[in-house]
């Protein structure tokens, strides 16, 4: 409730007479909607690597994130709002991650925690590491660090809350008329292939063929 007082829930367009102050609030639907959503984000337990340990420490006794409403960490994607990608995303794991993202119901958010999830991290040069999870799914907040300390993770979650505050019911993607397309699941061939990039592959193969035919 202290959030409400600080955020000044009252919309400034209307003046409330002094005898009713404290009993009547005039606000916008957006503010109530956003306040409800940002105060009870349920993260999905998606700890991959070392950053997962810092996530567990953030959920534990010293830096409790139950104070932010995120106490309920659900392993099932069907009941979660936030996918906290913590740790290196490898090519073997990315089809599973995309499938889990597709299974999460809207509204959903993704936070890339740590250098590895943001951009591949120190393992970027390897053959089994994806150079950042935003190649496949849309990311809302990036938290750099290796690993980010629990206080940095909490700052990142507060940044996400601020982002939610700026959303409006009229423009959010889950209330639009068109259905939201699921992201196609990557295929594990000789190297992982995003089906959205299959045409690039064909173009390159064709260019090589014409080069060979000419040369």
């Amino acid at each position: 409730m202290s959030d409400m007082k600080r955020d000044n829930i009252n919309s400034t367009k209307y003046d409330i007479p002094p005898e009713l102050e404290g009993r009547v609030s005039v606000t916008t639907l957006d503010k109530i909607y956003n306040w409800g959503r940002r105060s009870s984000i349920w993260p999905m337990m998606f700890g991959l690597a070392c950053c997962a340990i810092e996530m567990i420490c953030t959920a534990a006794s010293r830096y409790d994130f139950a104070r932010f409403g995120m106490e309920v960490m659900r392993p099932s994607p069907r009941q979660a709002d936030l996918m906290l990608v913590s740790g290196t995303v490898t090519k073997k794991m990315i089809p599973i991650l995309v499938r889990l993202y597709n299974q999460m119901p809207e509204p959903k958010y993704v936070v890339a925690m740590g250098a590895c999830a943001s951009g591949g991290g120190p393992f970027k040069e390897g053959y089994n590491v994806v150079a950042g999870v935003d190649r496949y799914i849309p990311v809302d907040v990036y938290i750099p660090g290796c690993p980010p300390t629990p206080q940095a993770l909490l700052h990142g979650l507060i940044t996400l809350q601020r982002k939610i505050d700026t959303q409006s019911i009229k423009t959010v993607r889950w209330y639009r008329k068109e259905p939201i397309e699921a992201i196609p699941v990557p295929i594990l061939g000789p190297d992982v292939l995003d089906p959205r990039q299959a045409n690039i592959l064909k173009e390159i193969a064709q260019a090589k063929q014409t080069e060979q035919a000419q040369g």
């Binding site: 700890g47 690597a49 070392c50 534990a60 490898t90 794991m93 393992f123 970027k124 089994n128 190297d191």
Partner: protein, 585 residues
């Protein structure tokens, strides 16, 4: 110091004995800086059986391979020790690169199972006679064998760091911008995405069906296959198990790994020796100091550096604190998996946070400490930290460990869920190369700090903790008691901590490492952590391999689970205490 002059003579005697016994197929390895014997591949099983049965070397610790591209040959390297303690033996088999086939040691030492699959996966060495040779860390259908020296990754820049593009003409360009797919991928020229049929684990399910038939079934019941997949609240990370159930009883189980394979070994072949140190932190990310310790020991064996006294004491204090941190977290997450939802792990994390404060003040980071250097440690203790360490070791930890003991050990629910579950007999533990608390809970008193002492552990007075039932409850008891022994060691080390320098010589970023090979092993909290380094005089290593205890402790996992209920898999996995950074590297 006298041990150092006596030990080589003893080692040479076991090698000489092998050479006299098998004169036509065993010879000494005479390359400069190398040790051990070379065995002809066709006689490998004969020699291994003789080592195990007649000469008492029954504990096979590490199986790996090396690619010698300039000489056109590859070799498999085996490290073997005695379960009663003492120095070990290294033997290798060499064969040409284009015909990389070698007999499998699984009939003699079942513990070589997963390690041979990894060597097939990453190096392409085929093991004849292996019961189930599939890829383990990468997926079926992956192109090529990555650790071969002529295989290049998609983001390849140069053979060795430092890269010339960073200085002096450092025009920044993100690696993904150079790749047409903006990602870390590259495809062979004949790949057609429309006609590619995805494998979808067909070989895995076939091998599962084969092992079910071997168990035998008298009643005609339906076998249900359950995937306890990478996304699971109790699997300690991204670990997948495929379980074949008859009712609720497990008939067969196959672990699937590789979801966190971060190509640590390939990156290390491109790094210089000092640059590998922060990467070793990320192997077993719960206990980073002991990873650093093992790697520093391996390279110090090659360079011959000896850390000063103060540095040795600091190393021991940090390593024992790490052991306590790790066991606290292991016990907490075991209880979390058993169903005592979050309370025990909260109590354990509270103590762990106080120790992590010490790490943060000394090394700079809570988890990725990067504290050890070759010939010492990076920094000295700041002011006031020794007082904090003293308070933690003398005043805070002993009563808290007793409180945790009182809270959990005699709890009837825990006892009924873990007693008799996941039993591993001592003979099985040694044959399957189990290490650490898993080995000691089965009755084998093998602790590297006593069996093959390194650093200054021979000066401290502590007990090796052993229990004899070999079930999950005993592994939990071993961890509680090991925490008490670690506190005892820290108390002695803090009392005797001398003054003096903390690093031998000036800090250098280019370490000169002479050619040769070395295997440095430490008793990590999860088991024996070994680093096998092959150097050829250049600034970066030729081959670098990590003997990961969690990976090898998973070899008897199927054996431990068969016959138990499916709910017990989680308890057994929690009691083995794996961490995926180490399993997959």
């Amino acid at each position: 110091m006298s041990e150092q002059t006596v030990a080589p003579v003893l080692e040479r005697s076991i090698e000489n004995e092998l050479v006299t016994r098998f004169p036509e197929c065993v010879s000494l390895d005479t390359r400069k800086g190398y040790s051990g014997v070379l065995v002809k591949p066709e006689n490998l099983i004969e020699v291994a059986t003789a080592l195990r049965d007649d000469l008492g070397y029954d504990y096979l610790v590490s199986v790996t391979g090396t690619d010698y591209l300039p000489e056109g040959m590859m070799e498999t390297v085996y490290h073997i020790y005695k379960a009663t303690g003492g120095p070990g033996l290294v033997f290798k088999a060499q064969f040409p690169r284009d015909h990389a086939v070698v007999p499998s040691l699984v009939p003699v030492f079942p513990g070589a199972d997963l390690q041979e699959r990894e060597t097939w996966d990453l190096l392409g060495i085929r093991f004849e006679g292996h019961p189930d040779l599939r890829r383990i860390l990468l997926w079926e259908g992956f192109e090529g064998h990555p650790l071969r020296k002529d295989w290049r990754e998609p983001f390849f820049e140069e053979e060795a760091k430092p890269f010339k593009s960073r200085w002096p003409e450092g025009h920044i360009q993100r690696a993904e911008d150079k790749n047409p797919f903006s990602n870390n991928v590259a495809y062979p020229p004949d790949f057609d995405p429309d006609s590619w049929v995805e494998d979808k684990d067909s070989m895995l399910y076939e091998s599962l069906k084969r092992s079910i038939k071997q168990q035998g079934s008298d009643i005609q019941t339906d076998i249900v296959m359950v995937n306890m997949g990478p996304q699971h609240p109790s699997t300690h990370g991204v670990f997948r198990m495929v379980v074949a159930l008859s009712g609720e009883t497990i008939v067969s189980l196959k672990p699937v790994m590789g979801y966190l394979h971060r190509n640590h070994e390939k990156i290390a072949e491109r790094n210089t020796y000092l640059q590998i140190m922060p990467y070793t932190d990320r192997l077993d990310y719960l206990s980073s100091m002991s990873n650093n310790f093992g790697y520093a020991l391996a390279v110090e064996k090659l360079t011959g550096a000896r850390p000063p006294e103060r540095a040795e004491y600091l190393r021991v204090i940090m390593a024992e604190f790490t052991r306590i941190c790790n066991h606290l977290f292991a016990i907490g997450s075991l209880l979390n998996d058993l169903g005592a939802y979050f309370t025990p792990i909260l109590y354990a994390i509270e103590e762990r946070e106080l120790i992590l404060d010490v790490f943060e003040a000394v090394a700079g980071s809570r988890m990725m400490c990067n504290y050890f250097r070759f010939g010492g440690v990076a920094r000295d203790l700041p002011e006031g930290i020794l007082e904090q360490i003293r308070k933690i070791a003398f005043d805070r930890l002993p009563p808290k460990i007793d409180e945790l003991d009182l809270y959990l050990t005699n709890n009837e629910i825990i006892r009924s869920r873990t007693e008799g579950v996941g039993v591993l007999t001592p003979e099985q533990a040694i044959a399957y190369s189990a290490a650490g608390p898993v080995l000691r809970a089965s009755g084998v008193p093998y602790d590297i700090r006593r069996a093959d002492p390194y650093s200054i552990y021979d000066r401290f007075d502590f007990d090796v903790v052993v229990h004899y039932h070999g079930d999950a409850y005993d592994r939990y008891l071993v961890r509680i008691e090991e925490m008490r022994q670690s506190v005892r060691i820290i108390q002695q080390a803090v009392k005797d901590l001398p003054g003096g320098p903390i690093q031998e010589g000036k800090p250098q970023y280019q370490v000169r490492v002479p050619a040769g090979e070395a295997y440095g092993r430490v008793e990590g909290p999860k088991g024996e952590l070994g680093f096998y380094v092959v150097a050829n005089g250049k600034p970066n290593p030729w081959r670098y391999h990590v003997r990961a205890p969690s990976f090898i402790n998973l070899t008897p996992y199927e054996l431990m689970c068969v016959g138990n209920k499916v709910a017990d898999t989680v308890a057994i996995l929690g009691s083995i205490d794996i961490v995926l950074g180490e399993v997959d590297r």
